[in-house]
Symmetry: C2
Subunit: 216 residues, 2 copies
């Protein structure tokens, strides 16, 4: 594999910022979006269960409806692609069976040969400790996708703004999620910064490395 | 900025897998680790609050002690760098003041000029809705860091294995976190795959894009 240099990785991380103002006329080209979409699909999750979906809200009326439930942040309407991360409300045997079936299909093996794996998942995310807080567990997986997505955006020179400032229950209504088994957990606006976004040039604020990272 | 190509981003995502067997003799070089460490530091978080820390467990005795509380997964002892993500147990005014102070310092402005920002955070993550579930909110931020870290590992050709299969309370004891205001939420082993890891060549299992990504 043709790996990326440390300099490129550091440059991408330094270049990105939570974009406040998007240029509404600039759209992410199809090939770049394809890579970003695949970064969502290829995100690693616990057991590989992918307990989430990604809604790309491109309908202008829906975006306008979401705006007042997004603390009025105009990124919702001005960005090129608006990604809403939705996560399973609970985990059932059917979720586990669906993965077992997919593994069997992709790897050309029988479901019986990985019954131990089904049992392991059942005892944890369905009937076990994680089953009790399944939505929260699923939400954490969605946040892995969010982290992955933002990093890939930065790598590709696409601006992004993570959006926790939203009302999940109102999003659920507008996006028709009630009764779907999924709930809104977070969103991310992606596109290109407007020339006038003053935050683009503001110094990045992080605690010192020694305060965040400790060798023990 | 010298951006990375879509082909490189896709290749990195396809190359990575949850490494089951690490080559214990191969260590991440200092310059590569520096970039990975900075990816942790530069992770975006809600309000920029960074309600977490990253413990790099390099002490062999500590790793051995963690092993039985990690479902016996040998990645804990065999990897080059073992990162434990710990998140704030609650959010207090002091957490907010610390960030306000840091913003003032880095951007050369007075704390008074961003008092509105302090008020906003106080009304949400301390005394408001997110304050009630502050640890979970902090854990989600740690998962952004986890996603970012795994993606940067892949970009740099470093293998990784996310570790949810661990007992947080036992980790907290071994790592001396009790009473520290932080709790273990997840871990990630990083290093280089062993030649014999059969999972390295197993077909990657994901649901079809149309089942995970929907345009609305």
């Amino acid at each position: 594999m043709n790996h990326i240099t440390t300099r490129q990785v550091l440059a991408a991380q330094s270049w990105r910022y939570a974009t406040k103002v998007f240029d509404a006329t600039k759209k992410i080209p199809a090939d770049v979006w394809h890579a970003l979409e695949q970064s969502l699909v290829l995100t690693p999750t616990s057991y590989g269960l992918m307990p989430y979906r990604f809604l790309i809200v491109q309908d202008a009326a829906k975006r306008t409806a979401l705006l007042p439930h997004s603390w009025g942040q105009n990124q919702v309407v001005d960005c090129s692609h608006y990604v809403v991360f939705i996560a399973r409300t609970e985990m059932k045997e059917a979720d586990v069976d669906k993965l077992i079936s997919r593994i069997s299909q992709v790897r050309g093996i029988t479901p019986d040969s990985i019954k131990f794996y089904k049992d392991m998942m059942m005892k944890d995310v369905v009937n076990g400790p994680r089953g009790k807080t399944a939505h929260e567990w699923a939400a954490r997986q969605a946040y892995i996708a969010l982290g992955n997505f933002m990093t890939c955006c930065a790598a590709l020179g696409v601006d992004a703004c993570p959006m926790e400032g939203l009302v999940p229950t109102e999003y659920d209504k507008i996006l028709g999620l009630e009764g779907s088994g999924y709930k809104t957990v977070v969103a991310c606006a992606a596109g290109y910064r407007a020339d006038g976004d003053k935050y683009a040039t503001a110094a990045k604020v992080r605690y010192e490395t020694k305060d965040l990272v400790q060798v023990v």
